[in-house]
Symmetry: C3
Subunit: 434 residues, 3 copies
């Protein structure tokens, strides 16, 4: 594991906590002012560029939808009491509900109400981006208590031509080869599902901005699905520079860390996460790619097939709180967030340092003794000497430092330090061309 | 498993039963009238073409032998009682015995007698195709009872220039690429070993003739070894169109189903049988190729190395009844025959449908919702939707439907139906070129 | 296992024993008269060519050192008693100690003394080839008893321009392709570590000289590290003829036999040793390559990457006696030496016979019966017939006899005999080109 450049772990955890708490009340969607407000808050911490894509823009098989905004929405009973009020929870409104005002019988209203009978106190989170309708999401217990014959419905929303908004942060490195990181910013008051990823990616961005980087890093804060599709459509020509990446999903819940492999299954990012997680021995797991999940679905579509996986803790759909009001501030843990951050950073550190070298004295061993690299009285070898023998023996342009770490059983950091030392002594040269 | 086109399972089992009972008494060999009579009976059910290859024809390292026919044969003791009579069982005569008439002492006669001491009531089945001699096969108990000093021998057979006879049934499909199926027809009154295979192949032929076929199918009813060698020698130029196939051996005994892989070990036919048998979980097994067995020995000789395996139940030589009079009508079971039929047909169905497609919207996901293929209110995905995501994600021209079924864990039939649906919606196109 | 040509196992064991006992007292080093004397003794048994490489010769990254010789050395206490005397054990002197004469205080002397506190009665073996210094190696108990304030030191050695000496024995075979065998000859009175290897290689040499050899064999008796580096530097142009090989290290201790694979890990020599050791089922093991050990470090450096492994019993460093006076005549066992010899010879025999053939009748089976190779009355096959079917089926120019042995499960010797028989009958031709 690697320490955080310039910031103490405690300070970082506090910053993630504060950011999540500030973003929690905002009603986000795949378009609209909630996303803009979210990105502006992030901009106070990292110099995001905010992009706007006009409604109606064709992006591959999709069209950027109309922009949705909402000010107010409620259901009133005959006594004028608000049964469900957007002001209490932005989950109450079916996300992307069209404007509506009128009175409905209970039977007609029920066609527009979503609940979770198994969790009668939780509000579900539902969306209808591509079918124009309206609806309310209620605790099931509330629905059971609705006995009036008629209810008053009011939805003060707008669905009009406007823009899809996303944020992009580019950190140039020594090479133009890019690592792409991405999180979704389209969920309203859900904590693990979208706020945890945003907070972790902001912390990673701050850290990466202060390090020496071989790779360039591109961090996308985008609405799920349509955001990544729009980004890929508008940036298709630059996709070939993306060499590695991962999507950051729900990384704050109390479950074990999970890395879901890219479609390729054996990309370097897959191998590095596998290496880091094997070392942690804390219940972390890697899982195979499936074409359902977060924006890796788009990055790993067959026409792109990018080496991009996805990090999360408990996979979505495997915890009951997923897409409900129970995915709240109590559901996530700062310890989990910190652990997720550490594993992502360790992986990026190995990745950035995973170079390939060529031994400059490939025929027989170099005489390390006369360079002061080896003890002079023959006896058993120390770890540092074994690392030198391994790096020199396998550095033939076909083995990366990770290959050498795995084959030798020595830690990557030891192998990396050894390669640096041998490079200083002109015993290696870089050969990343493979 | 797939249902039988046009015929009820019961009717099919009855037909197999009747065919086996009709063929059982006939004295077949690698040449001669027994084979002709067998093929003519099969011709009543499927329009076989019967081929005759002249004795003396050179077929690779072999020569088509003289034609053998037999009318009568017996051993008489001094009291004129027939100790062994061809009329009682055609197994009594060493197959391909030359004509003989004369009296022999018991000691001299014994050199021409074959028995099975471990099974004293069974008659062994023995042949001498390429060494001109004569002999009798007896229950060992009968041999023990022979006390006379002299016996009268009579064998009314003929071994003369004539023909080797085989049957061929060709079913044209959408493409000229062929699936080759083959069974041997050279054994006299043995049930599992040759009649079960003949009956199963006739049923498959009737079924295949009534289905839409991507592949063309060639079904060979041939004498073992010399028949396949002759067929390959005479059809060498068309062998390159054979893309898959299997030999049908003893498929009626009560043991578990066995698929013996082709020499290649990883041919598509090997993979499909492996897939079908893993699904059945009933003790079925695949075994590796060995160069001993049935006509896969010839099809898989190194100069051809065809992707042709072999189906059977208990492997030959692993049951005591093999090549004895105990391989009779009681030894086989209609249930086993039906199960063998089902597994062969399921395999052929998967094989015929195992196409490869290319996603027509490879960059990011297609918008399934606006095509009515996806539910509009976001929630957990159903099996059908997961199948669509898998087929679209992996259809890049390098993954067949079987690859997709195996990787997704979804059933082949679900994957196939999904591909058909996506094809209708122009989301896929066929790409079998790999 | 294969018997020893011309010599009984007992005679061979006696010869190995005598050679080790004769060589044991000699003070060897990486240069000097001890090595010359050792090679001359070996020359009495096999016609070694002795090479001398001048001090100062540049060999890759190294320089051939000055030649070291020693006549006498001791430490005397104030009473004139010799505390440590080279005449008692040549391990007492730090190998390559420069001449020295003088009186030192105990504290200053201690900087030049090496002991093993955990084994207080053993003398350690230490060297200082590339740093000019002097030292003594003592039983730790002796050091503890040293109470005088001053000691007299005398080292009558020389370190001057001279030569590095090694022996080479070349046995021409049918082809110029070589098997390289190598052992180190640079250790003074150590038995397992260098004398066991020398004795085993002499016995192998005597045996190989009396056999028909497909390969040519080159046997090197060289000082460790600098010897192999010098040989590779001086023979670089002929390295491409080396097709297989192994280094012979400590092969006489009572542990199990170990084969350490070449850097490639899947070279033919690795596969053959693996095959032989799997068959022995006696605790023998193969281990993966690591870049530390004996001269395989040089042969497997990335610029050569030769298919050369290393044989030993207990790996060095895994037994306490390693590089101490306890690696003496009692430490090794003639039974272990004999077992090591057998496994090396079995491996060389398989290797030499592991040819690849092409079936001359590749289309369908050859008719073995008319060649008298097959029983004529059809029944179950015998081992010899199965071996014929396997060899003919897999002999397509891509499967060696070892491939066929492994795939068929039949013994290599059976497969080899079968191939010879088929070759006689013109059913195979040699095809070693792969």
């Amino acid at each position: 594991m690697y320490s955080i450049q310039g910031t103490s772990p405690d300070a970082m955890m506090r910053e993630m906590d504060e950011l999540i708490k500030e973003l929690y009340p905002i009603c986000r969607s795949i378009t609209g002012n909630g996303v803009r407000q979210t990105l502006r808050i992030i901009q106070r911490q990292i110099p995001l560029v905010i992009h706007e894509v006009a409604s109606g823009t064709q992006v591959f098989d999709w069209t950027v939808p109309k922009e949705w905004n909402i000010r107010s929405a409620y259901i009133k009973n005959v006594r004028g009491e608000k049964i469900a009020d957007f002001a209490d929870s932005n989950l109450h409104i079916l996300n992307y509900s069209i404007p509506f005002k009128g009175k409905l019988t209970l039977d007609d209203l029920k066609k527009h109400i979503f609940t979770i009978p198994d969790h009668p106190d939780w509000i579900p989170y539902r969306t209808s981006y591509y079918k124009e309708t309206w609806g309310f999401c209620l605790p099931h217990r509330k629905l059971l208590g609705m006995q009036d014959q008629e209810y008053e419905i009011f939805i003060d929303s707008s669905l009009q031509n406007g823009h899809l908004t996303y944020g992009e942060y580019y950190l140039a490195g020594e090479t133009a080869d890019e690592v792409l990181l991405s999180c979704h910013i389209c969920h309203p008051s859900l904590c693990n599902d979208n706020l945890s990823g945003i907070a972790l990616m902001v912390s990673l961005a701050k850290h990466l901005s202060q390090t020496v980087r071989r790779y360039s890093y591109r961090l996308l804060f985008i609405p799920g699905t349509i955001g990544s599709i729009a980004w890929l459509a508008l940036n298709e020509s630059r996709v070939s520079t993306i060499k590695h990446g991962f999507v950051i999903a729900g990384v704050g819940d109390k479950g074990h860390f999970t890395y879901k492999k890219s479609r390729r299954g054996n990309a370097e990012i897959d191998r590095v996460f596998g290496y880091i997680l094997r070392q942690s021995s804390d219940g972390s797991q890697t899982t195979d790619f499936i074409p359902y999940g977060y924006d890796e679905r788009q990055f790993c579509s067959p026409g792109f097939d990018l080496p991009i996986g996805c990090v999360m803790r408990t996979p979505h759909g495997q915890y009951a709180e997923y897409h409900t009001s129970a995915d709240n501030l109590e559901f996530i843990s700062l310890g989990s967030l910190k652990d997720s951050f550490d594993k992502c950073l360790s992986t990026l550190t190995v990745l950035d340092n995973n170079r390939t070298y060529v031994n400059q004295n490939p025929k027989c061993e170099a005489q390390l003794g006369r360079r002061g690299l080896y003890q002079s009285i023959g006896a058993q070898k120390r770890v540092g000497e074994m690392a030198m023998l391994w790096v020199l023996n396998l550095s033939d342009g076909t083995h990366s430092l990770l290959d050498i770490a795995e084959r030798s059983g020595l830690e990557f950091s030891v192998i990396k330090k050894t390669a640096d030392l041998l490079l200083e002594h002109d015993l290696l040269r870089v050969s990343d061309s493979r």
